[in-house]
């Protein structure tokens, strides 16, 4: 589920770089009739610590988490790992980038990717002499 590596392209904090866990969050993608909706489980991520970026046709989500226990707490039983979330997707050219919207509720991110309206096929008149 998790891998330990440096985040590619993530801004490096000025503090001494510490290795952090990065998780690939589970997602659902479904068609709501007007486009696609993406939901991702990002427990521990708040609106302030979530970056959602569309560059060219790549959608990248990066959620930074804070430790779930105060400093000095000793982990005595572990069944899951806490880590930042990173996942990216290639958007098809049909997605209307200007209308992409997102909200975060109870640790679940929902991104709405509306389909751009397609122009009607245009019939080209062929003139004959």
């Amino acid at each position: 589920m998790s891998r330990e590596h440096e985040l590619p392209g993530a801004p490096q904090p000025p503090a001494p770089p510490t290795q952090r866990w990065v998780c690939t969050p589970p997602i659902d993608i479904f068609d709501n009739g007007e486009g696609l909706v993406l939901r991702a489980d990002l427990p521990g991520v708040s609106g302030d610590s979530l970056e959602l970026q569309v560059q060219d046709n790549k959608l990248t989500l990066f959620g930074r988490v804070v430790p779930q226990a105060p400093e000095g707490a000793r982990l005595i039983h572990q069944e899951y790992r806490v880590g930042d979330y990173l996942r990216s997707f290639i958007l098809s050219e049909d997605v209307d980038h200007e209308r992409i919207s997102a909200k975060l509720t109870n640790g679940v991110l929902e991104v709405v990717l509306p389909r751009a309206p397609q122009p009607e096929p245009r019939r080209i008149q062929v003139k004959t002499d």
Partner: protein, 148 residues
């Protein structure tokens, strides 16, 4: 890129399926197989000076759908993640998130003041505070000397 688009716009839309992190996802799926049968939700337990802290990740669960109780020295976590808009399966391009009811029963150590538990649920992370009972004095057990 095709100059003329005669086909359905939907077909092109399906290209979104192509993802950057395919390799990483495959690793996840391999791991997913191992995860089947594991109790849900997974929990972590930390020890602090005056309490134990139990944490669980429950994204998408509403506070009103979460129930915590203590009985007979066991902490019972019960809840449900409901699907806000259930759709037929064919609408899904990818379905990795699970929904439904779950319950988990966790035995508590004796050293807990189970009448003083506290819990908070923020951004899909549940934290249950389990205050430690004041340590009891070691008790000497007198040994009587019998006559043989």
């Amino acid at each position: 890129m095709a100059v003329f688009r005669w086909g359905s716009a939907l077909d092109a839309f399906r290209d979104m399926e192509r993802e950057m992190d395919r390799v990483l996802r495959n690793m996840d799926l391999a791991f997913e197989g191992l995860r089947i049968g594991r109790p849900h939700p997974p929990v972590n337990v930390y020890e602090l000076e005056d309490e134990f802290l139990l944490t669980a990740e429950l994204p998408g669960v509403r506070t009103e759908d979460l129930e915590l109780s203590v009985s007979n020295g066991h902490l019972v976590l019960r809840g449900e993640r409901s699907d806000p808009q259930p759709l037929p399966e064919e609408r899904y391009r990818r379905s990795e998130r699970r929904h439904g009811r779950w319950e988990r029963v966790i035995p508590l150590p004796d050293r807990i003041r189970d009448d003083q538990l506290g819990a908070e649920f923020v951004n899909g992370v549940l934290k249950v505070h389990l205050p430690k009972a004041p340590s009891t004095q070691p008790r000497q057990i007198p040994i009587s000397e019998g006559t043989s």
